[in-house]
Structures are given as structure tokens and as C-alpha cells.
């Protein structure tokens, strides 16, 4: 990836409308809108799933029917009509390609516009990509290198067919299918997603990465990701999203399950840039995601996220620290601008002894947006010597936005040590003045200060993502400075 300079940013800022707002014309194989048992069966059938999977989906669907949408989040929106959504769409021509040349050229063009050059990524970055366009994996690279190590990295539908024993054993163990409204919906209708298994003692040699995109109009995207790190293994998983601009709200309800067995480590990084709606608050993606990881003994799960997109974000990547000495980490930057609303945070559930968790959350709100941090730190009676440190800082730009903090802390063990601190402030005039004085204009000064504010989190991202994330931060805040 070439070096990204301030001037490049300036160039990019000139095109401040959502730059990835285009629509690829690929004939899609789409189910009629609506949701009932038949649709669930049809999805399962289309994907050629075994019977246990169909039953599993149906069970989730029946549970979902009885549930009501959660309303506790600090967001306001028009509720999606779940019967008006088409629950399945897949690119039509889907033979498995041997080389990229065989891929639909229009699709390749899409990737190029997104700046994901597969070839380049392949050669330069050494990133294996499982590219998801509208729910079905089209190309998987570096599979061979991975399979030599015994690593399974494929789409979840493939995993259901080829590794049913693993899927059956772990799916729904961290996020039960009845966990919450959106998790149940996802369990019933998930179309595709990624599956990753790292065998015992294997350190995954490269960053695993998936790009999600919502493409077909009126299609909700229901991704399901399952990452299993077996004893003593290590994996770093990258997820990034962009979506084309659409006027009607699109629903995205993903479920991500991470399982870190004894001594394993999973690092899960997300850059989320779903279409946030235009500057008048019209359109935009609804992002209702359930992400949760389970740590066994001495295991570690680290969530890093940069959230710049979506009209509504409702997302709490969590860690269940079940095993003794396990570690959970959460690093997050959430940027909201215009009419975006974000209610995001984490849950750290300490069950084992000597468990540790760290939460660093940076919220930046601009325009007329609302940004909330909602977190839970729970120390169960058996979690001796549990340790938590939380820090959530908010930066406000302009007086029409809001920053909110809702930290829940529940301790039931006397040896627990918990620290929580939060601050809210604006960018200091003296800081801007300092920069101006040295010939840095206000816009650049703000970018500089925001970057500094987010440094703690940006540092945690893998190299490839850090550059992109910085760029995104600056683009998202463009125009928010009066």
C-alpha cells in the first residue's frame, strides 16, 4: 500500500459525498420479500444444508417470532418491516474460480472502486481474503497456504457441508440462537459468512480478512462468522465493510462468535464503514450486530473496532472470560457525524479466577449525531482477583451532537479491582491555536488532534487497517468543523 499523505486526504475530501456509493449490476438470485418458515426452509435448501442445520434455523425462527425488538438502546429510528425484506440474495454466476481472471469483470471493478485490489493484496499485503459480495463467497485466496498448516478458512456454508462436526459442535455456543432478537433473526436466516478453524498449537501466518458489502437493493445482510482457535493457537482476523448508497434503510444483523480454547489468542479487528445516510439523515444502514467471544483457560480475545459508518449502530462485542487467567480486551473508536446514532460498547463477564479485561473506548460525535457508550463489567462470585480497567473518552464537535456514557459495573467478589473513568471534552482552542500558529490550518489541526485522541486504539490495529482507519476517521469528520 502506497504511503498516504495529507495531500491525498485533501484530494479525497473534495469528493465528500459517500465515495463508495455505487451499485453493481449483477443479476442476483433473490428470494421474495418476507419471512416465514417456508423462507427459512428455502434458504436452507438453496444452500444445500443438512437437516440438522435446517432444524436449527427453524428453531431459531420460532424463538424469534415470540421475541420483541429491544428498545433500551439510546437510538431512535423507524423500525424495519421484517416482512418487507428479502432474506436471500446471491450473485448469480457462482462457479468456484481457479484464478481471478475468471471472476465476473464487473465484480472485479467493484473491488477496484473499493480499493481492494485482490492481486495487489495477494502479492503485497499477504492477506488472504474471503470476499463476500451479497452474502456468498466468491473468491478465496491463499487457501492453499492456509490448508498446509491445517487451518480451515472458508465460507460458513462450505464449512457446514465439509466440516459439519466442527460447526455443529460450536455454532450457537457463544451466542445462543435465542440470545436476543437480532441474533435469533440471524440464526434463522443467515445466508453466509466466514468460518475459521486454527488447529492446536498453530500460529496463523497471515492476517485473515473478509470484506463485507451490501449490494442488492432491499436485501438485508445476515452474516454469520465463527472463529475457533484451538488450544495454543493464534489468529488475527480482519473484517472491513463498505456499502453502496441506498435510500431505504438496509438492515444488517450479523452474528460473530469467537471461541478461544486453552492458551489460544484471537485478535478480531473491524473497520466498519457502512453507508451512514446522507447529510440530511436520509438512508443509511442499520447495523444490529451481536459479537461475542468465549475465553477458556489462559486464552485471550481482543476486539478492536473503528466504527465510522451506519445510520444506526447497535453493537457490543463482548468477552466471556470463563477460564482462569483469561484476558479480554476491547479497543474502540466510534465516530458519528450528521444524523448518525451509535449505541456501542462491550461486555466483559468475568467468571474465571485471575481474569483481566481492558476497555478503551473513544467516541467522537459531530454534526447532529448521538454517540453512546454502553458497557457492562460483571464480576461473578467465583472470579477471584479479577481486574478491569475501563476508560471511555468522548470528544464533542459542535453543540448539536450528544455523547452519552452508560457503564454498568456489577461486582460480587471482594478481591475484584475495577477502575472506570470517563471524560467528555471538546477540542481545546489552545490546541488549535498552537497548530494554527505553526501554519497548520484548522481542518488539518483537527485531523491531527482527532488522530492523537484515537491513537490508543489505532495502535492496536494491524498495519493494513491502521492506515485505512485513519483515512476513514478524517473522511467521516469532514465538514463537521465550522
Amino acid at each position: 500500500m502506497s504511503k498516504y499523505t495529507e495531500d491525498d486526504l485533501r484530494e479525497e475530501l473534495k469528493t465528500k459525498e459517500y465515495e463508495y456509493g455505487f451499485y453493481t449490476d449483477i443479476a442476483s438470485d433473490t428470494l421474495p420479500a418476507g419471512l416465514n418458515e417456508d423462507i427459512v426452509r428455502a434458504i436452507s435448501l438453496k444452500k444445500g444444508e443438512p437437516e440438522w442445520m435446517t432444524d436449527w434455523r427453524l428453531e431459531a425462527f420460532r424463538a424469534w417470532e415470540k421475541m420483541t425488538e429491544p428498545e433500551w438502546a439510546n437510538v431512535k429510528y423507524k423500525k424495519p418491516d421484517f416482512q418487507a425484506i428479502s432474506y436471500y440474495s446471491a450473485p448469480n454466476s457462482k462457479p468456484k474460480y481457479d484464478s481471478l481472471d475468471e471472476v465476473d469483470p464487473e465484480l472485479l471493478d467493484t473491488f477496484n472502486k473499493l480499493g481492494i485490489s485482490l492481486d495487489e493484496q495477494k502479492k503485497l499485503a499477504g492477506v488472504a481474503m474471503d470476499v463476500v459480495v451479497d452474502s456468498v463467497s466468491v473468491a478465496t485466496t491463499f487457501k492453499k497456504t492456509l490448508s498446509e498448516k491445517g487451518i480451515i478458512f472458508c465460507s460458513i456454508s462450505e464449512a457446514i457441508k465439509e466440516h459439519p462436526e466442527l460447526v455443529k459442535k460450536y455454532i450457537g455456543t457463544v451466542v445462543p440462537k435465542k440470545d436476543n432478537f437480532y441474533a435469533a433473526l440471524n440464526s434463522a436466516v443467515f445466508s453466509d459468512g466466514s468460518f475459521c478453524y486454527i488447529p492446536k498449537g498453530v500460529k496463523c501466518p497471515m492476517e485473515l480478512s473478509t470484506y463485507f458489502r451490501i449490494n442488492q437493493a432491499g436485501t438485508g445482510q445476515f452474516e454469520r462468522t465463527l472463529v475457533i482457535a484451538d488450544e495454543g493457537s493464534y489468529v488475527s482476523y480482519l473484517e472491513g465493510c463498505t456499502a453502496p448508497s441506498r435510500d431505504e434503510n438496509q438492515l444488517h444483523a450479523a452474528v460473530v462468535e469467537l471461541i478461544a480454547l486453552d492458551d489460544a489468542e484471537i485478535k478480531y479487528s473491524t473497520v466498519q464503514n457502512w453507508f451512514p445516510g446522507d447529510s440530511k439523515g436520509k438512508g443509511g444502514v442499520y447495523n444490529f450486530v451481536t459479537k461475542r467471544g468465549l475465553c477458556e483457560k489462559n486464552a485471550k480475545i481482543s476486539w478492536t473496532q473503528v466504527e465510522t459508518g451506519s445510520a444506526i449502530t447497535w453493537k457490543y462485542p463482548s468477552c466471556v472470560l470463563k477460564g482462569d487467567n483469561s484476558v479480554g480486551e476491547f479497543y474502540s473508536i466510534a465516530v458519528t457525524n450528521n444524523f448518525q446514532q451509535a449505541d456501542t460498547g462491550t461486555k466483559m463477564v468475568h467468571l474465571g479466577k485471575n481474569t483481566k479485561s481492558t476497555i478503551i473506548s473513544k467516541g467522537i460525535s459531530a454534526g447532529k449525531s448521538q454517540n453512546s457508550y454502553r458497557g457492562l463489567v460483571k464480576i461473578s462470585p467465583n472470579a477471584d482477583n479479577a481486574r478491569n480497567f475501563s476508560q471511555c473518552d468522548s470528544l464533542l464537535m459542535g453543540n448539536e451532537c450528544g455523547a452519552h456514557t452508560f457503564p454498568y459495573i456489577e461486582a460480587k467478589n471482594k478481591s475484584a479491582k475495577i477502575e472506570h473513568e470517563a471524560t467528555t471534552s471538546k477540542i481545546g482552542e489552545d490546541q488549535i491555536f498552537y497548530c494554527n500558529q505553526r501554519g497548520i490550518d484548522t481542518e488539518k489541526a483537527i485531523a491531527l488532534i482527532v488522530n492523537g485522541f484515537s491513537k490508543d486504539v489505532l495502535n492496536k490495529l494491524p498495519m493494513e487497517f491502521a492506515v485505512e482507519a485513519q483515512k476513514l476517521l478524517e473522511i467521516s469528520l469532514e465538514g463537521s468543523v465550522g
Binding site: 459542535g398 453543540n399 450528544g402 452519552h404 456489577e410 471482594k414 479491582k417 470517563a422
Partner: protein, 443 residues
């Protein structure tokens, strides 16, 4: 699902209201307020754990008693028997209630240049009508508990300090319950209006004298006008069968200073709803508290500071020590309106758990809509510092005393802002007593 007993208390209160209504003087203004309030209570009922603000506190255990709503007998107490509950070593105005009834024998009120008297008198006499109409029920929210209180409100303290007055001595408001009824429900209602440039100090206490269950649902409305200063101390050291639902609402006008210190050591279940509304510029609000509880006690501090106008400050500092099977809840909310630029809001909540069965649930919450503000909150849960313990032990201080010293030091931040030395001494004694130590000197 509401359990059956809870329904019973609600029904009982509703039917009692019908009786109560008939006994009332014909006073359309107040009766309309009462009628509206009972309707709100009828609709909302007692709060349940399903409500976000009551997530960690269930009232079920205290609502199942068969409370007497209107105690019949008048009871008298000898001053010497209850002397220890007063801050008796200083001269003070006293407003004392026994089982909800005013005790003129124990009280010391005044109408000399200011009114420190009774709510019942203020409600009945025309000369107070203007104050009642301007202030009564103007700060209390329309939540179910304050509404329930409004519906039944007849008695409590009425304090009106006119302009430019320095109240020469503190005012003590004490509620005794004698245990003559098997179970008693009290609903005192206090109204405190402090006009421009005036200053007053108030000490409030609820005390049950026997082991019979008592439930107090108290509402206090405080209005501090321009540049007024109010210092309020709540001493809660009741026995383990008494429960308190305290609702305090403070409306501040510009440049006023209000502080509330809550010392929560006793009671079976205590809920302190403390709400500050800053309706003017350059206001200063202070909310501090020390909580030291054990057994199966449950104490819930639910605070709200609403910054409405610019250039205001608020300081919150709550310390808690939880032993045995005690549960502590802290839910602090700061709201900063869009207009409230240059707000400086600070909130700290520090807790120590000294038993494996104790629980602390804390939720320091910020809702900020203005950009030029400084808001911070901090919250910790931890243990006593081992090296500090070792330091003291190695110098011959026994474990229990060393612990007590550390715990006292832990709460010192709050204690240091208590402005009445006698109150500070009394609290220190209660703390020493609570920790089971005698340090041989006044901490």
C-alpha cells in the same frame, strides 16, 4: 408479574385514599393535586426491576408487610430516651414527628422573621398560600413514589427563609416511629424555600425505635433562589427493619449553592433519589455520600444532576464500604443540555468490598449535549491497600483498628466538606461504632 402482596399494598393505599379524601378540608387546589397524583400512582404502581432506574433494586421484600397507613394513637416520647438521636450538643431548631404526627413537646420551631414550622400549618393557613401555590409539588417528578407521597401529603417540615437571612442555628428534622403499630408506612413531605442571599443548614434523620417494620416514602422539595446557600445532611442509621424511600428534589436559581451529604449506615432497604435541577447560571451543586453497610442491607443511591444553564458546576463523590451480604447500588446521572456550555461536572464513586457475599452495582452515567464542557466520572471497586495495612501492622496497630483507620481515611474526602463540626463528630462516632473499633480519639 406483580406478586399478590404487592398488589395488596397498592390496593390498600388506593382504598385508603378514598377514606383519606373524605376527611380532607375542602381545599380545591391541594385536593386536585392529590387526586392527580393518586391517578399517576394507580397507573404506574410501585416501581419494579423492569424499569431501568430500578434494575438493581427490588421493592418486593418490603412491600409484602401489612402496613398501617394512618396510625391511630398519638404517642409521646421522653426527650432523654431519644436524646441520642439528636445532634444535642448544639443549639438547633427542631421539627420532630412521632409516627408521622408532630410532637410539639420535642420540637422547637419559629416564626420570628422566618418560618420553620409544619407542613400541615402551611397548607391550612392562608398566609402561606402563595408559597404553597408557587412551590409545593413544583420540583417533584411525576414518578410513582413521589406521586404516592403527594397524594397522601399532610405533614412534614415547612421551612421558608425570606431574603437576606442567615439562619442562626441548624434545623433538625427528625422522624421517630415508635412501633406501636405492627407495621407502619410513613409519608412525610418537606418543603424548603430559601430566598435570595439566605443561608440555612438542615439535618434530617429517620429513626425507628423498635424492631417493627417501617416503610418511609419521603419527599423533600428544596428551592434555592438567587445566591442562596443550603447545606443539607441526611443521617441514615436506622435499624434493620426500617426501610426508606427518599425522594429529594432541589431546584436551584442562579449563583445558588446547594449541597447534600448522605450518610447511609442503616436500614434494611434504602433508596435515595436525589435530583438537582440547575435553573440559572453559575450554580454550584454538591452531592456527597458515605455508605458503610453490612448484614443483608441494601442501599441504592440514584442521583441526577441536570445542567440546564451555562457556567455551572456539580461535584459528586460517593464512597461505599460493603460487608457481609450487603448490596450497594450507585446510579449517577449527569445530563448536560445543549445550552449548558462551560459546564463543569465531576462524579466519583469509589467502593470497597470486604466480603465475598457483598455486591456492588454501579452505573455512572453521562448524557451530554453541549460541546464546551468538562465532564468526567470515575468509578473504582477495590480492596484495602495491603502495603498500607502492613505498614500499620508493623507499627503495632491491631488489624481491626488498622482496617478502620484505612476505611475512615477512604471516606475522609466526603467528611472533610461537612460544615457543622458536631455533625462530623457524630458521623465519625457512628462510623467507629459501625466498624466495631474504639480508636481512643475522635477521628
Amino acid at each position: 408479574m406483580l406478586n399478590k402482596k404487592q398488589m395488596d399494598l397498592k390496593d390498600k393505599l388506593l382504598s385508603s385514599f378514598l377514606v383519606f379524601e373524605n376527611q380532607l378540608e375542602s381545599d380545591d387546589y391541594l385536593n386536585n393535586l392529590r387526586n392527580d397524583a393518586i391517578k399517576i400512582f394507580e397507573e404506574k404502581g410501585f416501581p419494579s426491576k423492569k424499569e431501568e432506574a430500578w434494575k438493581y433494586t427490588s421493592l418486593n421484600s418490603i412491600l409484602k408487610e401489612d402496613y398501617t397507613v394512618f396510625p391511630k394513637q398519638e404517642n409521646a416520647l421522653q426527650f432523654n430516651d431519644v436524646k441520642k438521636y439528636f445532634i444535642h450538643d448544639i443549639d438547633a431548631y427542631k421539627i420532630v414527628f412521632i409516627d408521622g404526627k408532630y410532637s410539639s413537646y420535642l420540637s422547637e420551631t419559629t416564626h420570628d422573621g422566618m418560618d420553620i414550622c409544619l407542613m400541615s400549618a402551611a397548607m391550612a393557613k392562608p398566609k402561606y398560600r402563595l408559597v404553597i401555590e408557587n412551590y409545593f409539588n413544583k420540583a417533584a417528578t411525576k414518578d410513582s413514589l413521589p406521586s404516592l407521597n403527594t397524594a397522601f401529603s399532610t405533614e412534614g417540615a415547612f421551612i421558608h427563609i425570606p431574603k437576606n437571612k442567615l439562619v442562626p442555628k441548624p434545623i433538625q428534622i427528625i422522624h421517630f416511629s415508635t412501633g406501636n403499630e405492627a407495621a407502619l408506612m410513613l409519608q412525610p413531605r418537606n418543603l424548603i424555600v430559601v430566598d435570595e442571599n439566605s443561608h440555612c443548614q438542615i439535618i434530617e434523620r429517620h429513626q425507628s425505635l423498635t424492631g417493627n417494620p417501617v416503610l418511609t416514602n419521603s419527599v423533600t422539595e428544596i428551592f434555592t433562589n438567587k445566591r442562596a446557600i443550603v447545606d443539607y445532611y441526611k443521617i441514615q442509621n436506622d435499624n434493620l427493619n426500617a426501610s426508606l424511600l427518599d425522594n429529594t428534589f432541589i431546584k436551584q436559581k442562579q449563583e445558588s449553592v446547594a449541597s447534600v451529604h448522605t450518610f447511609a449506615f442503616g436500614g434494611k432497604l434504602v433508596r435515595n433519589n436525589l435530583n438537582f435541577y440547575q435553573q440559572g447560571e453559575r450554580i454550584d451543586s454538591t452531592l456527597k455520600g458515605v455508605t458503610i453497610i453490612g448484614d443483608k442491607q441494601h442501599i441504592d443511591h440514584n442521583t441526577l444532576v441536570h445542567h440546564i444553564e451555562p457556567n455551572c458546576e456539580s461535584h459528586q463523590d460517593y464512597k461505599g464500604i460493603f460487608g457481609d451480604g450487603a448490596t450497594g447500588v450507585f446510579n449517577g446521572k449527569i445530563i448536560v443540555n445543549k445550552e449548558a456550555q462551560k459546564t463543569n461536572a465531576f462524579q466519583a464513586n469509589n467502593n470497597i468490598l470486604i466480603s465475598d457475599k457483598a455486591t456492588i452495582n454501579t452505573k455512572p452515567q453521562l448524557e451530554i449535549f453541549a460541546d464546551d464542557v468538562k465532564c468526567s466520572h470515575g468509578c473504582t471497586i477495590g480492596q484495602l491497600d495491603e502495603s498500607a495495612m502492613f505498614y500499620m501492622r508493623s507499627r503495632g496497630i491491631p488489624e481491626k483498628e488498622a482496617k478502620a483507620l484505612l476505611m475512615y481515611a477512604f471516606s475522609n474526602n466526603v467528611m472533610s466538606s461537612v460544615k457543622i463540626p458536631e455533625v462530623k463528630q457524630r458521623i465519625t462516632k457512628i462510623i467507629a461504632n459501625k466498624l466495631g473499633v474504639n480508636l481512643g480519639f475522635d477521628l
